[in-house]
């Protein structure tokens, strides 16, 4: 029987973490809703399962997305994850082939060199030893980057790195010690026996030349075992919990489970899957324009894990969605933030070490103490029967040139439409939703829904992406909701409006709620290409910036918003375009205040390019084209 007391710390750690992960998985599974349970069960078979395995390999081991964003950071993550995986895999195979018997206890693979010091002198054994050394070099190179990043984050191309709490520090230290101690332990042992490959062999021979290798080896094997044990035991209360959790997340996501609007297993799994890589911190405009560095999603996830009061952090966010877009783990960060906003101040659990390992589900005070809302003053209006409704929205009323342009376009197209909030209407409800006041928002949604329903319209066109998003997502309406850029594109496509080509250089700013928020990237650009010289910026589509005027941030001042706006405007107008085009009244208003470049909504540019058709093809009873359109 090959055994030595030094393997005990490792064994305790390993069996602890295995049991813990199983227990935790059972708890998580139990807490899933019944449909989600069925979804997850289905996710363990067939194509979803294959997809999950592929994703685990590509993301959890290779870290493809991080590699794509930042090569050095990706290499660091890959060398540690994939390297360690290979070391375990090949170590187990090595122990299996060359060990005393097959199917060994895990410690025999991990400490193979200790129990087989004389192994690997020639032939296949030596080649295998070479491979193992190569993997160790791979890991150590990544570790070197990680250590450097901790003290000098720019080396891996990161502007900021995450801050740590005490348990994270201890876990981090033990993680750092694992591979150097393995290197030294193996090298000393090899030095004594004259074995080992290019790394452990040479280092061992060199060390043995002036050090008592025989005596030195044993303490390092202890250190190796203790570091591993400590790391495993602390893993559940540190950010390294993301290593096992991410596997769970990938299965859940590929099984079709969504975050939803309440805290639950999926939001918790996502929270624990955050590796604090810090990519969201670099992506955040509150960081690089406003110098606010404690509210980014990585910190937000950590605060939730630590059961800290997160209401301040939850509210201090533009909800622009840049971090969702960039998160290499694919965590739905904004929906999780919205859950916290709805919850208001969560009750804090009594913190003890047990709670760290088995966190009770966050208890959220169901009813928030706010003044009872009362929208009785809103007048009952009976709209005229029509095909198409135009809802300008509050923000468009504050930028009347957009409203006027839309009226001009609608009139020119000859469609039968009704301007539903011409004399001012009720708010769409999204600002309240963003503040977490869903109940109040629902009252407004009901009010607007009734009016829209009574009009009998097929299509609802809105000028404001904020309204667009909420109409699309939170209204239960049997109408097609279109943003005016989509609608204008349809009018162009079916020939209802004819446009001149304006010889203007235009750069397009994609509004958050329209682009990242609703996935409408192409129609606005198609319209702009049709009427002008559309140029690319460095911030296109998913990578577009926030104008800073966001209604979602309830913490920062106007000046801070202005700083964000100014930085974004400078970036967008770098190639001195004639027009900075956008598709949102709020973006227009925000940018107008900070740049000398003309800022215009797409509708304004289209209205300018409009060729007034003297034949009035679609006027009067002949509205066939748009009727077809409306019946889709």
């Amino acid at each position: 029987m090959q055994f030595d007391p030094f393997v005990i710390p490792f064994n305790i750690g390993l069996y602890f973490i295995l049991i813990y992960v199983v227990a935790r998985s059972v708890i998580w599974f139990r807490d899933l809703s019944r449909p989600d349970k069925l979804r997850l069960q289905r996710g363990f078979f067939g194509i979803p399962f294959a997809l999950s395995l592929k994703e685990i390999f590509m993301e959890s081991l290779i870290h493809r997305k991080i590699l794509k964003t930042n090569l050095r950071l990706g290499y660091m993550h890959m060398s540690l994850a994939f390297g360690w995986f290979l070391l375990i895999l090949f170590g187990t195979i090595e122990a299996d082939i060359f060990g005393a018997k097959h199917l060994n206890a895990p410690y025999k693979a991990i400490f193979f060199r200790f129990f087989n010091p004389d192994h690997g002198r020639m032939g296949f054994e030596a080649a295998y030893g070479f491979l193992m050394d190569l993997i160790l070099v791979f890991i150590l190179s990544g570790l070197l980057l990680a250590v450097t990043k901790r003290f000098y984050s720019k080396i891996v191309g990161m502007k900021k790195t995450t801050r740590l709490k005490l348990t994270d520090r201890i876990a981090l230290t033990s993680l750092w010690l694992i591979f150097p101690s393995r290197l030294l332990a193996e090298s000393f042992t090899c030095g004594v026996y004259g074995t080992g490959s290019f790394l452990t062999g040479s280092l061992g021979a060199w060390l043995a030349a002036f050090l008592p290798a025989q005596q030195m080896a044993y303490p390092f094997w202890w250190l190796y075992s203790i570091s591993l044990g400590t790391f495993f035991i602390l893993l559940p209360v540190t950010r390294y919990m993301h290593i096992p959790t991410e596997l769970f997340l990938i299965f859940m996501r590929n099984a079709g489970i969504k975050t939803g609007d309440k805290a639950g297993t999926y939001s918790e799994v996502q929270t624990y899957s955050c590796s604090s890589c810090g990519i969201c911190i670099d992506a955040c405009q509150l960081n690089f324009s406003a110098g606010i560095t404690n509210i980014q999603s990585a910190y937000f996830m950590k605060a939730i894990r630590n059961n800290d009061d997160v209401s301040e952090i939850a509210d201090n966010c533009l909800m622009c969605g840049r971090c969702d877009q960039k998160c290499p783990v694919g965590i739905e960060l904004s929906p999780i933030r919205m859950i916290q906003r709805r919850g208001g101040e969560a009750e804090n659990d009594i913190r003890n070490i047990y709670k760290g390992y088995f966190r009770s589900r966050q208890t959220i005070i169901s009813e928030k103490a706010i003044a009872s809302s009362n929208y009785n003053f809103l007048q009952e209006t009976v709209p005229e029967k029509t095909d198409i409704l135009y809802f300008a929205g509050c923000m468009t009323h504050l930028t009347p040139s957009i409203k006027n342009s839309m009226i001009k376009i609608l009139d020119a197209s000859g469609v039968k439409y009704s301007f539903i909030d011409k004399q001012g209407g009720a708010c769409c409800g999204r600002p309240l939703m963003l503040a977490g006041q869903d109940k109040e928002a629902r009252e407004l949604i009901n009010y607007n829904s009734q009016m829209i329903w009574k009009s009998g319209a097929h299509t609802l066109v809105t000028s404001c992406p904020i309204c667009y998003k909420v109409f699309k997502e939170s209204y239960y309406l049997d109408v097609e909701v279109l943003h005016h850029t989509q609608f204008i594109k349809m009018l162009i496509d079916d020939g209802s409006v004819k446009l001149n080509f304006l010889h203007k250089k235009v750069v397009y700013h994609s509004p958050c709620d329209l682009g990242r928020g609703s996935g409408v990237y192409d129609e606005p650009k198609d319209v702009l290409k049709h009427v002008s010289r559309l140029e690319r910026s460095n911030f296109e589509d998913g990578n577009s910036l926030c104008c800073g005027g966001s209604l979602a941030n309830m913490k920062i001042s106007s000046q801070t918003k202005k700083k964000i706006a100014l930085d974004a405007a400078i970036e967008l107008t770098k190639n001195s375009p004639d027009i900075l085009a956008t598709a949102c009244p709020l973006c227009k208003k925000t940018f107008s205040a900070v740049t000398e470049t003309r800022v215009a909504d797409i509708s304004e540019i289209v209205a300018e390019a409009l060729i007034m058709n003297p034949l009035k093809k679609n006027s009067g009873s002949n509205i066939s084209s748009i009727k077809e359109l409306a019946n889709i």
Partner: protein, 341 residues
């Protein structure tokens, strides 16, 4: 040897400074970007609080500057401002170089560009005007809507571009309130059948006889003052303006149809002033106006020795204050010229 001072800006402050300096025998070059001196004063009809004609003040200022020793350079701007030893070297847009012993900056203010408050529809709706447009109408003696019809209900919005965080102006422009009161009276005088509504945040009547004028507007002229900031304006089919406002004293939202809307544009650091600040390395404050070295006893002094400020390039001021500030600048300059060499 007589000293030479360059005064930048030929408005009220610049003219007063030039006149006072020439009185004591100092040579003055007065630089004006427009084709004539007088600045904003040329655009005003009557002045508060006594509603005298603005030309009377202009005549006084012109009289001051007609006594020789003042070289007026119109259509001139400054491209370079450098200090070399105890002298200043100033290059104009025409490439002319002026050597001066001291410089007085009197670049004044620009009116807030009301189109920046798009929600009020200036430049978008036909019948939205600024306080300056209204002065122009009074001067021409034609107070009418764009289509020539005489307005019946007129709304005046205070604080357009002042005390407004969203446009980046925290400060109070101080004189728009009294301008609104003056113009409300004049509208009522000119159109006795009209109704005038002023929408204000606070009435800041902090000058001599301002409060009296405010009282007169209410008692004698029946001007309505409604406390509340207008949130937005829109145009109706019959070409009227529909405004939304909260009457904060009655505590309820209000919608009102008006024929005409007048925006009380605030005062901002002038574009010319910003340019001088850039080329001359002069310090500006958070409100973007020039920052004097001391708020109490150094309001004419700049961060560069030998460069002084006069008038509204440092803060919003009325004409009385501007003239006093200009005279104070003259004292500072004389003191400086005596003690430097």
């Amino acid at each position: 040897m007589s000293k030479h001072v360059v005064v930048i800006g030929g408005g009220v402050a610049g003219l007063e400074v030039a006149g006072q300096l020439s009185k004591v025998g100092i040579e003055v070059s007065l630089i004006e970007k427009e084709n004539k001196s007088g600045g904003h004063l040329n655009n005003w009809y009557r002045l508060f609080p006594d509603r005298r004609n603005s030309t009377e003040v202009k005549e006084y200022l012109d009289g001051m500057t007609h006594n020789g020793g003042i070289k007026l350079l119109t259509n001139t701007t400054i491209e370079k401002l450098n200090r070399s030893g105890s002298h200043f070297s100033i290059t104009t847009n025409e490439g002319k170089e002026l050597i001066a012993d001291a410089v007085i900056v009197a670049t004044g203010f620009d009116l807030f560009k009301s189109a920046r408050k798009e929600e009020y529809g200036y430049g978008i709706y036909d019948n939205v005007f600024t306080s300056a447009d209204l002065e122009e109408m009074f001067k021409k003696g034609e107070l009418a809507l764009t289509n020539g019809i005489v307005p019946e209900t007129i709304g005046i919005i205070h604080c357009v571009g002042s005390r407004d965080e969203k446009v980046g102006n925290f400060y109070c422009s101080k004189l728009c309130c009294v301008t609104a009161v003056k113009q409300a009276i004049e509208i009522r005088e000119y159109l006795p059948d009209s109704k005038v509504f002023c929408f204000y945040m606070d009435m800041r009547m902090g000058g001599a006889f301002y409060e009296e004028l405010y009282r007169e507007a209410q008692e004698k002229w029946g001007v309505n003052f409604i406390r509340g900031k207008v949130s937005e304006a829109s145009e109706t089919i019959e070409n009227k303006l529909l405004i939304k406002v909260e009457d904060t004293l009655a505590g309820r939202p209000l919608k009102m149809k008006l024929d005409m809307l007048v925006l009380m544009a605030g005062m901002e650091m002038s574009e010319g002033g910003k340019k001088i600040a850039g080329i001359g390395g002069l310090r500006t404050g958070e409100n973007r106006f020039f920052a004097a070295t001391d708020n109490h006893f150094g309001s004419n002094k700049s961060n560069i020795e030998g460069v002084f400020y006069a008038g509204t390039c440092t803060a919003p001021m009325n004409i009385t204050e501007t003239i006093s500030h200009a005279r104070a600048a003259v004292v500072e300059v004389i003191d400086y010229l005596k003690n430097s060499k």
